[in-house]
């Protein structure tokens, strides 16, 4: 697992693959670069230097925004031949994110920091290749891990051309979805050093590949390349083996109650990536959580489900039935159930710890344009009920979506202000256009254009597009900065570091008597809020079982 992957949720896909392949007789070693000291040193060195050039009012979600710069920079560093063009690109990357002009001093500093990190990684990776002498190597690709993963795949192939190389990961459900120009560019770029590209769950496909059951010239492997009899049912899929991961450096364990997504939003590719929606028996999910808990001494689980809504009732009931004080952090959707205080209290009692909700906008018009399938009233109803139960609410917002007017944007600011005490975290992003998969894409076809000049695309490898539709990219970022400053004024946090998370939890506890414990309180077993009495909202009739919490 290459940088940069925020060390919150351990690499579950690779760890599951490890366990599965080990059970089939293979020896698997996973190297997680994200917990290495040098990775953190590099990351903060890069952003500390950059930060000095960005005025405070434009820092926005500084690291989150900066990842796009860093990712493209790391790719350009590998590809550039003409130094002038390379520096021109880095300068433009910064301009198109923070809308500030930077000088050559900064560009040189960033270049040195990046160069030093590449040297460190290369030396270490070659050492590991020499020590392990692997027959096959693989990497999982996300937007932020892509450039360094490709670099090391290339090194592995150069080190020993007989080594089998493969990649998979979430990027193929997102910015590099099959059918997009970036996917085509990916296949072309990696032709000489990545043997197989795996889309979706990798266990069965990797095994089949290692057993030599795919022809050499077949690079792309998906679930369609499996016979029905070869597919492992959801109930029987292996658990992750985190024995190669420094778990002390991660806050969460990982569990899965369902795969795929029951919804078919036009901006999402979950269905194609993971196949049809399947639910696991909740008793099985809880059994697996308990196994992992005993093994790794953690109680907080990140649920990998696309959305936990369809399974939360059964899961909470099962956890209560088994008297297990586990906590779940998950993606969620506002719906009728989450506006019912009896349900949110029940979920809280069952261990629902934090919900991550895509609210997106305070304008019904915009939610309709995005095809979100939710309304502002649903957000308005659900957040207070979740908060009253003490569940932490992380809300995601998007600024500058095509056709968002200033009035729509104001509605978002107003909604956030109205709901401020029910929001644990407000995280927003400026709208970014990916070539494919977006709602109303056909209507946008003739409006898209490359963000960077054609002659720089060669060193970027992957292209960045933008849309010539109001409000446009610069306005979107302007609204992002305004949104963040608005939230700051209202005291709504957007924690990034552990300390900021701690402060956000302190605020949450002061606002909500049922508040879940903070991360440190539940990090290790033995410290939980079991036994704490849930305080019911005024309009709820007490049910005795609620008081058993």
């Amino acid at each position: 697992m290459l940088p940069y992957w925020s060390p919150v949720i351990p690499p579950v896909g690779l760890s599951t693959l490890k366990n599965f392949l080990q059970s089939r007789g293979y020896t698997i070693r996973m190297v997680d670069f994200n917990t290495k000291m040098e990775t953190l040193t590099f990351y903060y060195a890069y952003f500390d230097v950059l930060r000095k050039y960005i005025p405070p009012e434009k820092r926005g979600t500084f690291y989150n925004m900066g990842h796009e710069i860093l990712g493209t920079h790391l790719m350009a560093f590998q590809k550039y031949k003409d130094e002038k063009k390379y520096f021109q690109l880095v300068k433009l990357l910064i301009y198109n994110t923070y809308y500030v002009e930077v000088d050559h001093v900064l560009l040189t500093k960033l270049h040195e920091i990046v160069g030093r990190f590449f040297s460190q990684l290369e030396e270490y990776y070659l050492f590991q290749l020499n020590y392990e002498k692997p027959g096959a190597v693989g990497a999982t690709l996300y937007k932020t891990t892509l450039p360094l993963s490709l670099y090391l795949m290339k090194l592995a192939k150069a080190y020993n051309p007989a080594v089998k190389t493969m990649v998979g990961g979430g990027i193929f459900a997102d910015s590099h979805k099959p059918g997009t120009p970036n996917f085509t560019a990916f296949l072309e770029e990696t032709r000489s050093y990545v043997d197989k590209v795996i889309i979706g769950d990798g266990e069965e496909l990797v095994l089949k590949y290692l057993e030599g059951k795919f022809p050499d010239d077949k690079r792309l492997l998906t679930h369609r390349d499996l016979e029905a009899s070869e597919v492992i049912p959801l109930e029987n899929r292996p658990l992750p083996d985190f024995s190669d991961v420094s778990m002390a450096k991660y806050t969460h364990l990982v569990a899965t109650a369902s795969k795929g997504c029951p919804f078919a939003c036009s901006f999402c590719n979950e269905k194609e990536f993971f196949g049809n929606y399947r639910k696991k028996n909740p008793a099985k999910t809880v059994e697996e959580m308990n196994i992992l808990h005993k093994q790794y001494n953690r109680k907080l689980f990140f649920m990998t489900d696309s959305l936990l809504n369809p399974v939360i009732d059964e899961l909470a009931a099962e956890l209560i039935k088994n008297n297990l004080d586990f906590y779940m952090d998950t993606y969620f959707r506002t719906d009728e159930a989450s506006s019912d205080p009896a349900r949110t209290l029940f979920w809280r009692q069952g261990g629902l710890y934090r919900v991550r909700i895509g609210c997106e906008s305070g304008s019904d018009k915009m939610l309709e344009i995005m095809n979100k399938g939710i309304t502002v009233n649903q957000i308005r109803e659900a957040l207070p009920k979740l908060a009253m139960a003490g569940i932490k609410t992380t809300t995601y917002w998007v600024m500058g979506h095509p056709y968002e007017t200033e009035a729509d944007f104001q509605q978002t600011l107003n909604l956030v202000e109205e709901l401020k005490d029910f929001i644990w975290q407000a995280e927003c992003n400026a709208f970014r256009y990916y070539y494919n998969g977006h709602n109303a894409e056909p209507a946008w076809t003739d409006k898209r254009r490359l963000l960077y000049p054609e002659d720089l695309n060669e060193i970027m490898v992957f292209k960045t597009y933008t849309l010539d539709i109001y409000p446009g990219r610069e306005q979107a970022f302007d609204r992002l900065f305004r949104f963040i400053n608005h939230c700051k004024r209202l005291g709504i946090p957007n924690p990034y570091s552990g300390y900021e998370g701690y402060e956000a939890d302190k605020r949450w506890k002061s606002l909500h008597k049922n508040s879940v414990p903070n991360l440190e309180e539940i990090r290790y077993k033995g410290n939980c809020d079991k036994g704490k009495k849930i305080i019911l909202a005024d309009n709820i009739q007490p049910r005795m079982e609620d008081f058993n919490f």
Binding site: T35, K36, M37, E38, Q120, E123, Y124, F127, Y131, E132, S243, D244, S246, A248
Partner: protein, 70 residues
Amino acid sequence: MKKYENLQIKDLIKKHPGVVNVLDEFNLPCKDCRDKNCLVKDISEMENLSLKDEMAFITKMTEAVSDNKN
């Protein structure tokens, strides 16, 4: 060295006492630890060795457990 990675450090010390010198060289507190239960493969990560030190540590541990030593 690879075959010992999943051993607890106390078992490796029993088998190859010379590794104690390597642990000392890298200021790793294993020798004085009461339990010595950590797996060999986890030590460099747990003790936050730099990449350079981790490579040197693996190299020296490999030498220490090679057949002609200890």
